[in-house]
């Protein structure tokens, strides 16, 4: 099985080579694109199949040493429950994205080469069983995705985004590598089995926590290390951003979970959960709020990703805390919530980014203020989008709700950790999570309502056509998955049981333990008292809906009639305005206005500038809304200034005459001699 996975990774690398080779032969782009994306599709499905087989059949986990690796030892790979769970997500999301890309006009080599490499890097990270292989895959993934972001590098904005992106990726590496070093200790072996055998203690453990959180957080986009994330999405194409958002952050979170929950051993204290809970809650709030301010659809979705990453991190934090407080079932509940949400979010965010890609391809823009009314031109895409936003807004009975239900149940049980600080933190986190969920719903309404509903806002947008057949299939595949995942979360949790055991400890029941009869159809929390029956809810909703429709239509038989918009009695727009009066439609900034005033000005430094002309002045007035993320201001800019200051000072050393350089050498020699004399005199 591992051999198969490795073969898949090798094939992906080969595909990248093929794509690179096709760059030399002009006119082969179409075939190369088909080969690459087709290959990725097949391999992605293969990954998902292997992972599902591993999870479902409980195949044994045998680490395998590879015949190659770093010069100091062999690379080791293994597939345990946690790896398999994330591999499942990788396979499903990768297959969807590849399928979508097959339908798109062929990409250039700049995209074709790194695309399979990114998949390979992620797969390698997931199946790695030693520190080096893990980080090798991790950084390959980062570098490949940088190439994808930088593919369209003619625009300075994209270049800046790519640079910042890579910077944070490097930061992540620079934090994670010492974390593994600290974990290994003087013994030096980086194999996971060896690391597990000697969990860190004291300040080492604290340092591992800090470094791991910073490292994985920088890659996963946890606040305040998220500054790179939204701009990176402005550049990437639909399938690429789907893959990045759907899977890449999950891989970062996988590293977080692997490092802190698995490799650090089960004996860490309960307070370890606090930093994760705080970071998760704050990220959720910030991400969701920013999603309401963004003016373009892909950054909007990216911000929503920050929010969901926050949820998952929060779940991991709760797992740590519950485990530290010896509350095994609750730890399993929180771990299950996180894992399920990771999968759910991976799928529905893939779907939404593919929708965004389809919209971009069809309407030629991703600015909300140039789109609108697409539901008429693109009904299938709109339907898929509706499913996606429903899941993203965590509406029952779709996928997002099940995992959020578990997460909230875990949060509501947080008071069982008998520490008043933790209790208050969890209570506050509950409020923040609820707020973030509501904000996400608002953002999703904004996304769907402004892009698909209403009237077109630009001629290009009005000329949009439905996505081609393959793209539509690629949208319907994850959309169907979202529905299925929402209906059968219990089955999924049963499937995730091996992964939950990795996180929550070996002897914990899963939250889907079938206490009431139909196994796997019920989510259970809080010692069996709280239940969520998604299938029952769905059936109930369907039943009521059909009945209601039937009753109402029997009573009211009249066919609907079409008429001009009433619009509160406002007069019709003049005929030269083909799309109606654009000012009477809510715009991207306008829809965000209440939230901007309520929360944005406090948290994001949002402000509005309204410039009204004095009476009689025929020139148009102006309105502009700004929302700036404060973190670059108080995190990146001071650091950059500090760096430049030090660099300027260091420059003085360079600007020396030969005599000055000689003096340096001489001074060094004299200092060393004096040091020697002092050392020996002691």
């Amino acid at each position: 099985m591992l051999t198969g996975l490795l073969l898949g990774i090798g094939l992906l690398a080969l595909l990248a080579l093929v794509a690179a080779g096709s760059g030399w032969v002009p006119g082969q782009e179409r075939r190369a694109a088909r080969a690459v994306h087709g290959g990725c599709l097949v391999i992605g499905l293969g990954f998902a199949g292997v992972a599902a087989a591993k999870l479902g059949m409980g195949l044994p986990e045998v680490p395998m040493a590879l015949p190659f690796g770093p010069p100091w030892g062999a690379a080791v790979v293994a597939l345990d429950g946690l790896s398999a769970w994330f591999l499942l997500l990788l396979g499903l999301s990768g297959a969807s994205a590849s399928l979508f890309a097959l339908g798109m006009p062929p990409e250039t080599g700049r995209v074709l080469v790194p695309f399979p490499l990114m998949l390979a890097g992620m797969a390698l990270t997931l199946i790695a069983a030693d520190g080096f292989t893990l980080l090798l895959g991790f950084e390959v993934m980062s570098f490949a995705s940088w190439a994808l972001i930088a593919a369209d590098h003619a625009e300075a904005e994209n270049r800046a985004a790519a640079r910042r992106y890579l910077m944070f990726a490097v930061l992540a590496g620079a934090c994670l590598v010492p974390a593994f070093g600290l974990l290994a200790g003087p013994a030096g072996s980086l194999e996971f089995s060896a690391l597990r055998a000697s969990p860190p203690e004291g300040w080492r453990a604290g340092a591992v926590l800090a470094l791991g959180l910073a490292g994985a957080g920088a890659k996963a986009g946890l606040v305040p290390l998220h500054a790179w994330l939204p701009p990176a999405y402005r550049a990437a194409s639909g399938p690429v951003s789907a893959l990045m958002s759907g899977v890449m952050y999950k891989v970062a979170l996988y590293v977080l979970a692997r490092l802190l929950l698995d490799l650090c051993g089960p004996v860490q204290p309960a307070w370890w959960g606090v930093p994760l809970v705080v970071a998760g809650a704050v990220s959720a709030l910030f991400g969701a709020l920013r999603a309401n301010m963004e003016a373009e659809i892909q950054p909007l979705l990216a911000c929503s990703t920050i929010e969901n990453i926050g949820f998952i991190t929060l779940g991991f934090g709760l797992t740590l805390a519950f485990r530290g407080a010896d509350l095994g079932p609750l730890a399993a509940l929180a771990a299950g919530a996180s894992l399920l949400h990771a999968l759910n979010h991976g799928i529905f965010k893939t779907l939404l980014f593919l929708v965004a890609g389809a919209v971009r391809n069809a309407a030629g823009s991703q600015r909300i203020d140039r789109l609108g009314g697409l539901i008429h031109a693109m009904p299938v895409t709109a339907l898929a989008a509706l499913v996606g936003i429903g899941a993203a807004a965590s509406l029952p009975p779709l996928a997002g709700f099940a995992s959020e239900w578990l997460l909230l149940e875990a949060l509501l049980a947080g008071w069982r950790v008998s520490d008043i600080v933790f209790q208050v933190v969890v209570a506050a986190a509950t409020a923040l999570v609820a707020m973030a969920a509501a904000l996400a719903a608002a953002a999703m309404v904004r996304f769907f309502g402004l892009v698909f509903l209403g009237r077109p806002r630009s001629p290009r947008g009005a000329g949009a056509r439905e996505a081609p057949l393959k793209e539509r299939w690629a949208l319907l595949l994850p959309a169907g998955l979202v529905v299925l995942l929402g209906l059968f979360p219990g089955l999924l949790l049963a499937l995730a049981a091996p992964a939950i055991r990795v996180l929550a400890g070996p002897a914990t029941p899963t939250p889907a333990t079938p206490t009431p009869a139909p196994a796997g159809l019920v989510l259970v929390a809080g010692e069996g008292a709280s239940t969520y029956l998604p299938l029952a809810v769905a059936l109930l909703l369907a039943l009521v809906l059909v009945t209601l429709w039937f009753l109402v239509r029997r009573r009211s038989t009249g066919a609907t009639q079409r008429g001009p918009v009433w619009n509160g009695g406002f007069s019709d727009p003049p005929p030269f305005l083909h799309f109606g009066d654009p000012l009477t439609q809510p715009g991207a900034a306008g829809f965000a206005q209440p939230l901007r005033q309520m929360l944005g000005s406090a948290l994001l430094g949002a402000r509005e500038v309204v410039m009204m002309r004095p009476p009689g002045d025929p020139r148009p007035g102006h309105f502009a809304a700004h929302a700036a993320d404060p973190t670059p201001g108080w995190l990146l800019m001071p650091l950059a200034r500090l760096r430049d200051g030090i660099a300027a000072r260091a420059e003085r050393l360079r600007d020396l005459t030969i005599r000055g350089c000689l003096s340096l050498s001489f001074g060094t020699l004299v200092v060393l001699l004096a040091l020697l004399a002092w050392l020996e005199a002691r």
Binding site: V170, A174, G185, A647, A650, C661, L673, L676, L679
Partner: protein, 497 residues
């Protein structure tokens, strides 16, 4: 070793040294450019083959030389880079506009340098090693100054004076080293033999050893470009033919650091002496931090990568300063990887500088758009130098960081800051050089002998071939080293202690 060398008494190390020198003699009499460059390739290839034979050498002392696991890979790599540099230079030398005399001087100096480099690595006798490094220095001065322009002479003069002083100090250290051994071995050559000294160090006077180490460190450290002894390096690598930059940063620095390492091994063998690792650690950290910040102020692409050499030497010094098998392995791997990747960058950069007619960063933008083959090759090479996977610098930096974290956790902070600052600076330059809107190519006049657009394309592979070869080797080194070679490196890591 897979098989015994057929003639154990055959002085293979000396053959490796003298072949390039004989080649230098030959090249001194070849006036025509094409002949000379081809002959240069031939000599380098022969040298490389001989060096490969070292892999099959049983090892051990042979007169003033010795072959062990530590110097064998360095020698082989040196000759490999020598060969690729010769290949690159075949495509590039036309653009340097040499007259006949300079062409000969250039080739002679190159081969003399190669021989001296080999001798510096293979020498067992510390005195011989010193002589070899001195010869290499003088050859490199000639190579840097070969253009005779004021900046070149300025740089060469700086190199000469600073390294001259450094080398003088190193000789003083060598003499003191003998002073330590003299009471134990009596008269004779063996008093300067590294192997003997290493064995006897435990009984020697620690005070003398300390003194010797300080002088050797400052002396050879100057050549290795460790801060604050580095001042000659950026200018020397930024002037002269660009092939020389590849050689200087790829080979000369390694030889010098190797010498420091040998000195450290001797002193470290004595428990009563000062811990030499601490000194290396301090120098390494200073190099890393200063270079990391200095990188942000560079506007000249070659100087940028020269500073990056300082940074990488600093990293290797930190690794060797940590010591232990893992630390030494990290350092060795870093040296090897840095040589491969940095020379690849200089090859690519050389082509770019030739095309754009300037080595200012601002004049070399957008290579990926104007020359995709070159642009992406250079981009990947820079990424490799920045320590991104899957190339070997990633592996060595990984090992170094984990080692530091495991053994001297407080070092993570300065090391992490330096590494991060430097890497981000390199990513900046990567994007500045390779991405974005291309700047126009320099106009070419037919008389210059420079390549026209089409001409450049035919010579393309003299640039891209070496670049890709180096990258492929760096990839192998980092992620899939064949077993015997990995064993060799493992043995090598045990040598410095």
């Amino acid at each position: 070793m897979p098989f015994d060398f057929p003639l154990p008494s055959f002085p293979l190390p000396w053959a490796v040294v003298f072949l390039p020198w004989a080649g230098a003699l030959l090249l001194a009499f070849l006036p025509r450019e094409r002949q000379a460059t081809l002959a240069n390739i031939g000599v380098s290839a022969a040298g490389f083959l001989l060096a490969l034979a070292l892999l099959a050498h049983p090892g051990g002392i042979q007169g003033w030389t010795h072959v062990d696991a530590l110097n064998t890979p360095l020698v082989v790599l040196s000759f490999l880079i020598g060969l690729t540099t010769a290949v690159f230079s075949h495509g590039a030398v036309g653009a340097e506009r040499f007259d006949a005399l300079r062409l000969r001087a250039y080739h002679v100096a190159f081969q003399v340098f190669m021989g001296a480099q080999a001798l510096a690595l293979l020498a067992d006798n510390m005195g011989v090693m010193w002589v070899a490094i001195e010869i290499a220095t003088m050859a490199s001065v000639l190579m840097v100054a070969v253009h005779g322009t004021p900046p070149a002479i300025e740089a060469a003069w700086k190199l000469f004076i600073l390294c001259g002083v450094g080398i003088t100090l190193a000789l003083f250290g060598t003499i003191i080293l003998y002073l330590a051994a003299q009471p134990l071995v009596g008269h004779g050559d063996s008093g300067l033999s590294w192997t003997v000294l290493r064995g006897l160090a435990e009984q020697a006077d620690p005070g003398v050893l300390n003194l010797a180490f300080v002088f050797l460190l400052v002396g050879y450290g100057t050549k290795a470009g460790l801060v604050p002894l580095h001042s000659w390096l950026p200018d020397a690598e930024a002037e002269g033919p660009i092939a020389i930059s590849a050689v200087l940063s790829g080979l000369l620095l390694n030889a010098a650091l190797h010498a420091v390492l040998r000195a450290k091994a001797i002193v470290g063998a004595h428990d009563g002496a000062v811990a030499p690792g601490r000194f290396l650690l301090a120098f390494g950290l200073a190099s890393l931090l200063l270079a990391a910040f200095a990188l942000w102020r560079r506007r000249d692409a070659r100087r940028f990568f020269a500073w990056s050499s300082i940074e990488h030497m600093g990293l290797a010094a930190i690794a060797f300063g940590l010591g232990g098998v893992a630390g030494n392995l990290a350092g060795l791997l870093h040296m090897l990887g840095h040589s491969l990747c940095k020379s690849a960058v200089f090859f690519g950069l050389g082509a770019a500088v030739r095309l754009r007619g300037s080595q200012k960063t601002a004049d070399i933008a957008g290579l990926c758009a104007s020359h995709p083959g070159l642009g992406w090759a250079l981009a990947i090479a820079i990424a490799a130098v920045a320590g991104l996977p899957p190339f070997s610098l990633f592996a060595s930096e990984f090992l170094l960081l984990t080692e530091v974290a495991a053994r001297h956790a407080w070092l993570i902070l300065p090391l992490g800051i330096g590494l991060l600052t430097a890497t981000v600076a390199k990513l900046h330059i990567l994007q500045a050089l390779c991405l974005g809107d291309p700047t126009p190519d320099a106009p070419r006049d037919a008389a210059s002998g420079g390549a026209t657009g089409a001409d450049w394309f035919t010579r393309d592979w003299f640039t891209l071939g070496p670049v890709w070869l180096h990258l492929a080797l760096a990839l192998l080194l980092g992620a899939a080293l064949p077993g015997p070679l990995a064993m060799l490196l493992g043995q090598a890591a045990r040598i410095p202690g």
